[in-house]
Subunit: 348 residues, 2 copies
Amino acid sequence: MSVPELNARSAAVLDTIVERYILTGEPVGSGTIARLLDESVSPATVRNVMAELERLGYLEQPHTSAGRMPTRRGYRQYVTGLPVRGLMSDDDARNLRSQIAPDPIEMDELLRRTCHVLADLSELVAVVAAPPLSDTAFRHVDFVALEGNRVLAIVVSRAGQVKKRAVVLSEPMTQDQLDQAAAYLVRRFAGRSLREVTLRIQELLTGAGERLEVFERQAIALGATSITGDLDESEVLVEGSSRLLAAPDVETMGDLRTVFEVIEERRLLALALRAEESSDGPRVVIGCEPLPTGLEHCALVSASYGHLDGPHGTVAVLGPTRLQYARTIALVDAIASATTAALVRLTR
Amino acid sequence: MSVPELNARSAAVLDTIVERYILTGEPVGSGTIARLLDESVSPATVRNVMAELERLGYLEQPHTSAGRMPTRRGYRQYVTGLPVRGLMSDDDARNLRSQIAPDPIEMDELLRRTCHVLADLSELVAVVAAPPLSDTAFRHVDFVALEGNRVLAIVVSRAGQVKKRAVVLSEPMTQDQLDQAAAYLVRRFAGRSLREVTLRIQELLTGAGERLEVFERQAIALGATSITGDLDESEVLVEGSSRLLAAPDVETMGDLRTVFEVIEERRLLALALRAEESSDGPRVVIGCEPLPTGLEHCALVSASYGHLDGPHGTVAVLGPTRLQYARTIALVDAIASATTAALVRLTR
DNA sequence: ACTTAGCACTCTCCCCCTGGGAGTGCTAAC
DNA sequence: GTTAGCACTCCCAGGGGGAGAGTGCTAAGT
């Protein structure tokens, strides 16, 4: 994008307007800004700058004789000007870590806590996408015979995630046979990522490359129906959605109903988070861009946790565009770090 | 309660007012009712009846010269006058059953589907409380060694529910030892309800009544920390909460924020449902009575599924007091039956 | 004794108007 | 390039005023 650089004063005016607007929720006039700015300028000068900023698309007016409020682009500019890291004291960060993972637990619990703490501290909607199973190593599988020809397959990942699925066998198997099959699969595949396991199993099933014992073949087939599939759907935790209703600027969020629908439809959220995934620092999305329809008037502050070559996911805060960016970015960043640390301890 | 019986005409007037109010959401005047009633009466007569109904606490006026609207008591009376069963055609019921459980699956999936279908058809918030684990029979347990001294305990109930918990051992155990312990526990306790198992384990731990091998003692101890505990917390599924925002009478629901908080705080919902539990037909709660604070302006239509001597839980619809009771009651009742049927097939 | 027509009364809601205030853009002077 | 001055625009809150819906009461009818 060929966005013209703003000179220092214009940027200062824009920042002040954004901050003021976030604070009060009302269009900001030239007088207010002139008073708030460090350097002393007259309202008239500010007006000139504002007119310029409006021409450039950073500001808009609800009507002719009202103050200005930031556009999406205005927010964007403001946010990119914010310092990214180190906004949180070491003490606070440590504190956070102990709140999230006071002692070694399992991954689900860890993520629940992460989500809870994030919702609590951000006072907004916290969203946590669990690592998709395909990224984590296969640790264990267990088959439990149910009534009929049904079998409950329970897959455990290295990090202690558990996935279960009921499958129907074409012909009955005894619990002994099931145990053998499970043991075989564990022996053969433990330690590899579930994505790899899936791949290997597919190969073994189609290519007749290898000579397999009968029971091995059976085990592989069982693994195919139970381990394989929807590994990429990562669970999404949400907490604090009721906060949206108490936000001082509910009206600005557009149709609340659709916002809640998106939140409820976890898949959409998961996609939005996935799209944002990357290894470094916190990210901010304002308005629709990569967000699903319905969130046009929301902002999403997200950061990834974990390591790209291991299990990793995303934590995020969803709120109105009028949110306290500096604070929230620092928080999300710190939470992501804390979660990463806890995750490492879990899989160590 | 010594509620005076209403004579036929008073009851008819009340019913008409309630139905009209549910339809339009506006206070109903005597003229409307006079027109709507089967027997032809004049508005003046209706006014007399209405004044009487107001004195008895069934109706209220928002202000002197507006129509009447039902009070909680008015709704209550209206609902008790509704037929309870057989409001849904057999065809619809069958249809429902096939939507919920097209083929044998596992319990969680069954309940998710139940919740989904209920939300879909009621166009309101569907709430499903899963059977607490303590009611279901113990089928299987599996211990998976994690890093450190942590062990992941996975408990499977007869119906195929899975519960996991990470526990920390005071001293390390090999996977072999863990497998032995699990096998021992299964051998010894499979088939009993988890409540019983918990009890037995407690006995064995405290009373030195029985001579136990070392590894048995170890297994029991492991079982105590992993099987025992929070069995009574039943998971609660919720779907469709965004519907509340689209309800034509959002305002009447009081503070939406607190309503959503209660919904988000599943424990509160679980308690409310548990309080209502009983074996027979659908139940309706209007306003606070046994509902948690915040739901003063909501109605809850619930019914139990399953059998009291086996796994059982509750399905419910949460909505504004102004909901279509007849339809909703029939639906909830039918869903509960369908779920019961599916559950029986699952554990057969 | 119950029902009903008639009537005065009450209260809300909506529309219109108006004045005040906040903020703007422009122009001209610094 | 900055600023004071000024006319202009537009929203918003507050104050009638009239229409409409619905009531309670009274008195007459069955």
